[in-house]
């Protein structure tokens, strides 16, 4: 897939339209000029979410009511799709080719892999960052998983309400069980789908992981179910049903759900050690890159296509050696969007890139690569 252009209005300080190149796109500018805003605009268009804030309305330009990001994606030579996300107050509306589109269909239009500062949480943060990484990956291979996950989260939320309410009002265990049962019934089926999806994805990641691109250590992945050691994981539905039954008193005491894949984790190991605990900052960055590259490679083997790759503030995240290796690997594969404040990088690494100079949110200069030609501008 190819992002042909993107247009932003009232999205932070951005205005105007950028026609991207098919290979490397360098967004260069001093700090505070809005280069990362363009990356955020791409991210928001693709995932209907920002990587900077939980509250999308923060990206509406101060004093304005409505922010719009538009873009055109090409799938092959003939299929062009127009995507739009509009932010107004607390609502966001998404459309595909000018028509409103449900989220599951919309999200499968552009797949991105993003290397940003907060993605480092995957290799050194709490389990939720790793679960999100896996869920994005599973969804990239099977779009219906988005709905499974939404249903799962909804069921957990509903069940938590019952548990909290029962705890507060001292409703009996028997009565609580009665109220919880219809939700647990769904939870069992949905949890099994989430578990299966994530396990399969980790297995596939392990198969394509280029273990030693950035170092001598061997990186491996291991999906860690919170039900591990509690019984036969091969009969997941039977096991979780039993755990839900046994642990209801504990859940009632806690006032929230204790059983299910929302408590699972992904172990990232180097030479058998936990990366999160024992890895150096450099090793952790390398591991994150390996994970991203594996996700890209899996996506490619599944769809015969590449996702977009976003790298925010490349110098902050990676040293020159890693940047070199990374670009070597990506060349001829992904359409890549990179922000940098260092002008030395623009010349040294990116002779084959389209360069966009950003000042106050607007492109003030472009340079096209000598080797790769830019996309045709309609």
């Amino acid at each position: 897939m190819l992002l042909e252009w993107i247009e932003a209005s009232n999205f932070r300080n951005l205005s105007g339209k950028i026609f991207w190149g098919p290979g490397f796109n360098i967004i260069h500018g001093s700090n505070g000029q809005g280069k990362t805003n363009w990356l955020e605009a791409i991210h928001t268009l693709a995932r209907a979410k920002s990587f900077r804030t939980q509250h999308l309305q923060e990206s509406i330009k101060f004093g304005e009511q409505l922010a719009v990001v538009r873009g055109r994606v090409a799938h092959g030579a003939d299929i062009h799709r127009d995507l739009q996300i509009a932010l107004q107050g607390n609502t966001k509306s998404i459309s595909l080719n000018g028509k409103r589109e449900p989220l599951t269909g919309y999200l499968s239009q552009i797949h991105i892999v993003a290397l940003t500062a907060d993605e480092l949480d995957i290799v050194r943060g709490m389990p939720d960052a790793r679960r999100r990484f896996l869920d994005r990956g599973v969804a990239s291979l099977q779009p219906a998983y988005v709905q499974t996950l939404m249903d799962y989260n909804r069921v957990i939320k509903q069940k938590n309400h019952i548990l909290r309410n029962s705890a507060e009002r001292e409703i009996s265990l028997f009565e609580t069980e009665n109220l919880v049962a219809p939700w647990n019934q769904q939870l069992i089926g949905l949890a099994a789908q989430v578990h299966r999806g994530r396990c399969d994805y980790v297995e596939r990641l392990n198969q394509v992981l280029e273990r030693r691109v950035f170092g001598r250590e061997e990186v491996t992945l291991n999906y860690v179910s919170s039900l591990e050691g509690k019984g036969d994981l091969d009969d997941y539905q039977g096991l979780i049903a039993e755990r839900l039954r046994l642990r209801l008193p504990a859940e009632l005491a806690a006032g929230h759900s204790l059983i299910g894949p929302h408590r699972d984790d992904l172990a990232i190991l180097f030479d058998g050690h936990e990366m999160r605990i024992y890895g150096s900052a450099g090793q952790q960055r390398s591991a994150l890159l390996l994970l991203d590259l594996a996700a890209i490679s899996l996506y490619n083997s599944w769809h015969n296509d590449y996702p977009l790759f976003l790298i925010d503030d490349v110098d902050a995240e990676l040293d020159e050696k890693r940047i070199g290796k990374l670009l070597e690997y990506l060349e001829g594969r992904t359409q890549t969007f990179i922000t940098t404040a260092k002008s030395s990088h623009v010349g040294r690494f990116f002779s084959q890139a389209n360069v966009f100079e950003i000042e106050e949110g607007v492109v003030v200069g472009t340079a096209e690569p000598k080797v790769i030609s830019a996309v045709e501008k309609p």
């Binding site: 449900p102 599951t104 269909g105 499968s108 099977q142 779009p143 219906a144 709905q147 249903d151 909804r154 069921v155 939320k157 509903q158 069940k159 309400h161 019952i162 309410n165 109220l179 049962a181 219809p182 939700w183 019934q185 769904q186």
Partner: protein
């Protein structure tokens, strides 16, 4: 200070209480009403008053009706041995449009949703169990309950809850199937529906 004269503001506020009506739509409606001939406004007011005065809930099935029991519950040609449970009166209309269902209905007026503080006692469930006794059902023994709640997590939970309630009574409890819309090309069916259809496949 009010932006509009008091009666206008009052009307706009009333419209805003209605579902899916925001400030802008409320203003548009209010201004439209001010431009309407008085006779038309009277007609609208009368229609609203009438619907409140004349429409009640059927004491048997909770459907909207003018006469109690409703036309389904009092019909001698419907099969009173099969009850289709739906969330809302408009879901009943959807089932009825098929013209292939000959049984009777039970309208819950909602679905279980703890986060919206809707529990079993908030659904119109209390009058379902008595219907299962032949003496309360014109002498007819109910043989099947079809659970036609929505294919959402809330609809599923509701179906599941009622299923648990009824199963021990030994009657047949079924859940409507979910899947492919008829007459659609496989290519254009969304992934979620396709996924459900695959999961719910059956032998032929």
């Amino acid at each position: 200070m009010l932006e509009y004269a008091e009666p206008v503001t009052k009307l706009i506020d009333e419209f805003k209480r209605l579902p899916s009506i925001g400030q802008k739509s409320a203003q548009r409606l209010a201004f439209h009403i001010m431009r309407m001939p008085e006779a038309e406004v009277e007609r609208l007011v009368l229609a609203m008053r009438e619907v409140k005065q004349r429409i009640i809930l059927c004491s048997v099935c909770n459907n909207h009706t003018e006469l109690d029991p409703c036309r389904f519950c009092s019909s001698p040609t419907r099969d009173h041995g099969v009850i289709c449970v739906v969330e809302e009166p408009h879901s009943l209309v959807a089932v009825e449009k098929t013209r292939s269902f000959k049984g009777v209905y039970h309208v819950l007026h909602g679905s279980l949703s703890p986060i919206r503080h809707i529990g079993p006692s908030d659904l119109h469930l209390a009058n379902l169990l008595p219907r299962l006794k032949p003496e309360n059902n014109e002498g007819v023994q109910v043989t099947e309950i079809i659970l036609a709640t929505n294919p959402t997590t809330e609809g599923e939970a509701t179906a599941n809850y009622i299923g648990r309630l009824l199963k021990p009574l030994g009657l047949r409890v079924t859940r409507i199937a979910m899947g492919m819309p008829v007459g659609s090309d496989l290519e254009y069916v969304d992934e979620v529906t396709m996924d459900k259809s695959l999961a719910n496949r059956h032998e032929i």
